[in-house]
Each structure stands twice: as structure tokens, then as C-alpha cells.
Point group: C2
Chain length 188, copies 2
DNA sequence: GTCTATAACTCGATAGAC
DNA sequence: GTCTATCGAGTTATAGAC
């Protein structure tokens, strides 16, 4: 297997493990078992676990940017925002939480560079929602009056929280509640 | 030191560590250093780490029930809800996240009994908010029309998420945004 | 209750052969 | 690129003295 393919395979498994179990609850031994190569070979691709975590987040952020670019091609602000929320729903039904939400929980055990990428992901999300919301208001699709900035920050927090809570309660309904309240507040 | 005092002291330190670093990122050695006794003595009070985690959550839930009972003595629904949100703000400024939010992130590494207590905590919170909101509407303090159940589930998710996100971004403003939007939606 | 000592294991990481 | 082998440190947990 080529270097990039193998690295990609490792990142794929590692991401899933972080999203399901947490960054401090999986090991190179787990990755070795999942990929079918030995621990030492994982170190060849990712020298340290901290480095693996950083590349995981950078890759995840690239994925976000790609997804948002895709969503931007949709015709209305509401369909774009529905698509955004749907991505969280997909994460939820797969039994995972957001990679950044998971790593933010362990933030104090990570280095500054890694924490910075998490912050950037959250800001990117929030700013995209705010921009999309403002466009919707501008186009007359949404009712004006509410703060688009507060709405964006609230939505991102609520979606992140809903994923974490639903895994503990087994109740997936809070994500729907978040979505309903979000759109309700911009109804004319 | 008596048995109960020592156990209480250990729980106090352990809770802080879980809220700041995560359940899988602190050890009996850390607790030994914090309390000034040896690792083996910690095991005398809490046989296993899983047992410590369970007792941590049960104690935290008792704290919630006590706090909600206190809040129920306040004169209006809005002051009660402000008090509820303020508790999250205090957690935030102390650099921590909710104990249940932290452990919910590691939920897949915990046993069923422990997960159950987390779920109970979330349900208790959400039901109290819903009840308080409904009372406010009934008393004419809040405008009717919105689903109190959706609002409660959204608020709890958003507060939990805001704590996690703010630690990664360094921006404490999302909690204020959540609060403003929550009360805004019930304004006449 | 708290101690010392240690078992049994897992962790991230490295050296060096192929 | 992947392997075997191993290091040193950390982990939870227990036995038994005081």
C-alpha cells in the first residue's frame, strides 16, 4: 500500500475512534489491530500521537470547508442550513460525536497548536451559519430582527451539545428540537 | 481524617479533574498527589476507578437536585431560569465543563450503570427547565405559543455545548448568546 | 486508615533488520 | 514500508504490615 493510502486508512480509523471513544481512550495498539499493520508501522506514518491528533483535525477541517462549499451551491438559505444540520444528524445516527467536540472535551490535555485548530473549526462553522442566515434575511427568506450572530453561535453550541447528550440519554430528539427552534425564530 | 471526610476530599479533587481533563485523563496517582495520601489508600475508599466514576456522578446529581430545590424558592420563572444558566456560567469561568458533559464524551468507555446516571442527570435538568418554563407561561410571565419541551431540550444542549466550545475557542460569548436567544423566544 | 511493595498490564516511542 | 524486539514510564489494582 502506498504511503498516502496507508496514512489515509489510519486517519480514517483514528477519526472514528476519537469520535466514539475519545482521544485519550484509544491507542496505537487499537489502530494496529484495525489497520492490520504493527504499532511501529503506525509510528512511521505519524511520529507521535499528538501529531496524529493535529493531522486528524486539519483533515477534518478540510472536510468541513469542502462540505460548506458544496452546501453553498444549494438554491436557498434554508436548504443550505438544513444540509448543515443534517450533517450532524448523520454523525448522531452513526453513534459518534463531532471530532472537534470530542477533542475539545480533552482540550486541557492537548497542546496549543492542536487547540488552535479546534477553535478555528468552531469559528468557521459559526461564521458560515451567520453568513448564510444574513443572506437569507437579505433575500427576504427569513424574517429580520433577530441577531444572526447570536443565532449562529447558539446553533453550533446546541448541535454539538445535542450529539453528546443524545449518546448518554439514548434520546435523539433533542437535535430535532434544536432544528425546530432555530428555524422557528426566523419565521415571519 | 474520618472515612467520610477523606472520601469527600477525594471526590472533590476527582470531580475537578474530570471536569477539566476528562475521566480517562487522570489517574489514582494524580489523586494521591492532590490529597496527600498514597494510591493504595485511594483504593481503600474507592475500590475501582469505575466505582469512583459512578459515585462522582451520583454525588453530582444530588448537587443538581439541591440546587434546583434552591432555585425553586425564587419568586419568578425568569429569575429561576437565570439562576440555572448562571450555574453554567460559574462552571465556565472556572475553566471546567459539566461533569456529565465530560463523561458523556467518554460514554462508550463507561459501563451501562454509569451511562444511566448521566442520562438521568440530563433528563432531570431538561424536565426542570420545561416545568419552570410552563409555569412562567401559565403565570403570564412568558408569552405562550412556543414548545416548552423543545425549548428545554435545546437550552440544555446549548449550555452543555457552549461550555465545551468556549474552552476550545477562548470565546466565552456563546453562553451569553444562548441565554439571550432563550429568553427572547418567550418575550411577549 | 494508611503505608510499602509489587504484580500484571498497557502506553507511546525507538532501534535496527529486512 | 513493515517487521520484531524492547525500553521506560505509566496504568489499575492487590497483599500484607502497621
Amino acid at each position: 500500500m502506498t504511503r498516502v493510502d496507508r496514512a489515509e486508512q489510519i486517519l480514517e480509523h483514528a477519526q472514528r475512534m476519537v469520535q466514539v471513544r475519545g482521544f485519550n481512550a484509544f491507542s496505537y495498539a487499537d489502530l494496529a489491530e484495525a489497520t492490520g499493520i504493527r504499532k511501529a508501522s503506525i509510528h512511521y506514518h505519524f511520529k507521535t500521537k499528538a501529531q496524529l491528533g493535529l493531522e486528524l483535525l486539519e483533515r477534518y477541517t478540510r472536510g468541513l470547508i469542502g462540505a460548506l462549499t458544496q452546501l453553498d451551491t444549494l438554491p436557498s438559505a434554508s436548504t443550505r442550513l438544513e444540509g448543515f444540520i443534517d450533517a450532524y444528524r448523520q454523525t448522531q445516527v452513526s453513534g459518534a460525536i463531532c471530532l472537534c467536540g470530542s477533542m475539545a472535551s480533552d482540550a486541557e490535555t492537548l497542546d496549543d497548536a492542536t487547540r488552535e485548530v479546534i477553535g478555528r473549526y468552531v469559528r468557521l462553522s459559526s461564521e458560515w451559519v451567520e453568513k448564510t442566515l444574513a443572506k437569507g434575511v437579505e433575500d427576504g427568506e427569513f424574517a429580520p430582527g433577530r441577531s444572526t450572530q447570536d443565532a449562529a453561535a447558539s446553533l453550533v453550541s446546541a448541535l454539538q451539545g445535542a450529539l453528546v447528550m443524545s449518546r448518554a440519554t439514548g434520546d435523539f430528539g433533542s437535535l430535532d428540537a434544536v432544528e425546530r427552534r432555530f428555524f422557528e425564530s426566523f419565521r415571519g
